[in-house]
């Protein structure tokens, strides 16, 4: 299916210099178009101990279409993972991110691959945002050696060192001190980069978060703590778990910002603001008001603690992909048909990758003992029963 964005654009020049968005009479080649468009976020930012950034976000057609494609890919990937889990190709835990894609995509748009991101176990889409491939995701989920962690990590342990994605952590809240450590290393090496440490509303009640925040504020570390508030900590609603659900205010002396997490452009604006702030003034907390459609994990139906009406209500009114779709259509950046084509293409890509991943091999048995230690011990393999050992001496 050939996607053709070419349209005649003779009257384009008239509109080139206009900063405000206006309905453009004719189409242009969108895939490389970087003409700025300014969009107002639908919800203003609420701030704590700082000045909120402006509601007007600068974007361009290329970026909007990238948002759409990336989010569609993430959505499709998560839904496919759902089916794979039910077909028992994925075992153990599988925490799905659909509904929250705007956070991953908006954050990537504001930062570089030199900035670090660390998150908890709901990491499939963040991994894709950092440049991971679909094959690495599905292979890791199915435990194949082509996976990003060679099949040894699983759903909760996705890492990508070369694009500074530090995972992928199963224990709630433990990634936040790690994230502050990353920020410390960035300050130590004078990198002028920042770290985004993501956690959920459930993890916001962990003590180590406040410990790490205290140290980060004391040492002026470029750490940005991002609370992805999807309002439920597994089965417990936020009002039942937190005395003060205003997570962006919880830093007390640390400034905070509350962001509409279903709006990728608002997320982008907030992350850009946070990066500038962190490099100058130290840590800042961002609270992303978002929602997950699936339950906490695949074993949770997601409807025992919330009503189906609530879920479908959010899906109708705040869905991040629909929002971008409406934005694209209202600015005439693409036709409905083209967007549907993108979704079909994405679906095909996901299906093809799954087929490829299903055929890829499982890890070798000898790999059980690799990577326990870095090569310092000089032994590649060490039998657990100490009866059979294969040792390669250097």
């Amino acid at each position: 299916m050939a996607l053709s964005y070419l349209r005649s654009s003779s009257s384009r020049s008239v509109n080139l210099l206009k900063p405000l968005s206006s309905s453009l009479p004719l189409r242009r080649p969108i895939s490389t178009d970087t003409t700025p468009i300014t969009v107002e976020t639908s919800v203003p930012f609420t701030s704590h101990q700082c000045d909120a950034p402006s509601r007007s976000v600068e974007t361009n057609p290329k970026e909007l279409l990238t948002f759409f494609r990336d989010m569609a890919l993430m959505r499709r990937m998560e839904i496919a993972a759902d089916s794979l889990y039910k077909a028992k190709f994925i075992r153990g835990f599988c925490h799905l991110y659909d509904g929250q894609e705007a956070v991953a995509v908006g954050m990537e748009a504001a930062i570089t691959k030199k900035d670090c991101i660390i998150t908890a176990y709901r990491d499939h889409c963040t991994f894709i945002g950092r440049g991971g491939t679909l094959l690495e995701v599905f292979a890791e989920l199915m435990g194949r050696q082509a996976g990003c962690s060679k099949g040894k990590g699983g759903s909760m342990h996705f890492y990508k060192k070369d694009s500074n994605f530090y995972g992928g952590h199963g224990i709630v809240g433990a990634q936040v001190p790690l994230g502050c450590g990353l920020a410390f290393a960035q300050k130590y090496s004078k990198d002028e980069t920042v770290t985004f440490a993501l956690y959920g509303d459930g993890a916001a009640n962990q003590g180590q978060l406040f410990e790490a925040l205290n140290i980060s504020a004391l040492w002026d570390l470029p750490a940005i703590l991002v609370c992805e508030n999807n309002h439920y900590g597994m089965g417990t609603a936020e009002w039942r778990a937190a005395k003060s659900p205003a997570y962006y205010k919880r830093g007390d002396y640390v400034p905070g910002l509350k962001v509409d997490g279903m709006d990728a452009l608002a997320v982008k604006q907030a992350c850009k603001f946070a990066k500038e702030h962190a490099l100058k003034n130290g840590p800042i907390i961002l609270e992303m008001d978002t929602y997950r459609y699936h339950g906490h994990s695949m074993s949770d139906p997601g409807s025992t603690y919330r009503t189906r009406d609530e879920i479908s209500g959010v899906r109708q009114e705040r869905d991040p992909i629909e929002r971008i779709r409406k934005l694209i259509l209202s600015h005439d950046l693409a036709t409905e048909e083209e967007l549907k084509d993108i979704e079909k293409e994405v679906r095909k890509e996901v299906d093809d990758t799954i087929t490829q991943a299903k055929e890829s091999p499982m890890p070798e048995p000898s790999k059980l003992f690799t990577n326990v230690y870095a090569k310092g011990l000089g032994v590649e393999s060490f039998g657990a029963d100490r009866k059979e050992v294969r040792a390669t001496l250097p």
């Binding site: 962690s149 326990v372 011990l377 032994v379």
Partner: protein
């Protein structure tokens, strides 16, 4: 070269070659040297009632003078230095500091984090004056938040920094157990080898002088199951400096166990740069009749008992295992094959301690060479009491070691 071993002595390959790439070529002072075997810390004073005191001032009295027949161990003065170079004398905490300082000079990525390590100089003076020399960004005073600053050290290590995290007392690191177990130990594996965690976690532990139950913990027994970490215990200024340096240079996470009562041990150590192999045990005294395996402070109780045993006509072989994870089964195995009797003397509690694991490892691998069941002398399975007499009975005393060996060698 590749070798395939089946059966006994499986871990022999671990130490059969200096496989660690960081052992320098000019590493003259290997712990396997014969004269290193004989050294005894010069500041140990043996009282006639069998208790051991550590001489805190520089006037060191020769311990051997109080025993009628001198043991085979030679005099202690220049034992650890090569003949050309006299070396210099210092206390164990100074040796640790020297090792740390040399590594911080050598590699700008090494930094220290802990409570009161900076301006205060360290509660046991291990990091004294380092903050003045290297600045606040490299010697960091943390708030009292073990869980998070250990986590931060691990996060920093993921990017390539080499932090040395100090627990003011090892017992406090229990608060950071999640970070040490899940993140420190397992990240190299779960990331498929993408990240190494070159962190060193160190601190004093062990039973001190009436410090109370919570400050007398032996954490090596809790940490020993964590896959992916290495554990070493230092016992002399020589190996303290060597192990500290090797631990910092290692790409794996290393937990270095120091002992509260050993910080003021004095010894003469070489001037030149040296490190100790992290996976190697130290032969303290070779012998023929029985192998006594020990580590950390119990080494001194064992040496104390060894003098009595020699007087009684026994010839014990004393090995300071040093590497608590993984065990140096090569050295231990060779010793078992020679003596056929093993006594383990440790400060851990009997249940689930290092001695328990070591007993299992030796039984599984060297059962055919044992003439008698392994005797494991450990501390009692009680919280360490405050009262001095009770505390003494919690820990293994030299007289008990003598009795055990006599029983074993009947």
């Amino acid at each position: 070269m590749a070798a395939i071993f089946q059966g006994v002595g499986a871990a022999a390959t671990l130490s059969s070659s200096p496989s660690n790439s960081f052992v320098p070529k000019k590493f003259l002072t290997s712990p396997r040297r014969s004269f290193c075997v004989r050294k005894v810390p010069s500041s140990v004073v043996v009282r006639s009632d069998g208790s051991v005191n550590f001489d805190l001032n520089s006037k060191s009295r020769r311990a051997q003078q109080l025993v009628a027949n001198a043991v085979a161990t030679k005099a202690d003065s220049s034992a650890a230095s090569s003949s050309s170079n006299p070396g210099h004398e210092l206390l164990l905490f100074e040796a640790l500091r020297e090792g740390l300082e040399e590594e911080m000079e050598r590699d700008p990525c090494v930094c220290v984090m802990g409570e009161d390590v900076g301006h205060y100089g360290g509660s046991y003076k291990v990091t004294k004056d380092l903050a003045k020399k290297f600045g606040d960004l490299r010697v960091l005073d943390t708030p009292i938040a073990e869980n998070s600053f250990t986590g931060m050290g691990i996060g920093a290590a993921m990017t390539g920094l080499r932090p040395v995290v100090e627990g003011m007392n090892m017992g406090f690191l229990l608060l950071a157990f999640n970070q040490i177990s899940n993140n420190c130990g397992m990240l190299h594996y779960t990331s498929g080898g993408q990240f190494t965690i070159p962190i060193v976690i160190r601190g004093p532990g062990g039973v001190g002088r009436q410090l109370g139950a919570e400050h007398s913990q032996r954490l090596e027994s809790y940490f020993q199951s964590i896959p992916g970490i290495q554990m070493v215990a230092c016992s002399t200024p020589y190996n303290a400096k060597g192990l500290m340096k090797a631990a910092i240079r290692s790409e794996n996470p290393v937990i270095l166990f120091e002992h509260v009562l050993l910080y003021n041990l004095k010894e003469r150590i070489p001037d030149e740069d040296y490190i100790c192999n992290l996976e190697e045990a130290e032969m303290v005294r070779p012998g023929e009749h029985v192998t006594i395996l020990t580590y950390s402070r119990m080494r001194y109780h064992v040496m104390q008992a060894a003098k009595t045993l020699v007087n009684k006509g026994y010839d014990p072989e004393v090995i300071d295992i040093r590497s608590l994870k993984p065990f140096d089964l090569y050295t231990i195995g060779n010793s078992v094959k020679k003596t056929h009797r093993v006594v383990i003397v440790e400060e851990c509690m009997r249940t689930g301690g290092i001695g328990a694991s070591l007993t299992a490892a030796i039984t599984e691998n060297f059962n055919d060479y044992l003439d008698a069941p392994i005797m494991c002398l450990s501390s009692q399975d009680v919280p360490t009491p405050y009262a001095g007499t009770l505390e003494e009975w919690t820990v293994v005393q030299p007289a008990q070691i003598v009795t055990a060996v006599e029983q074993l060698c009947q």
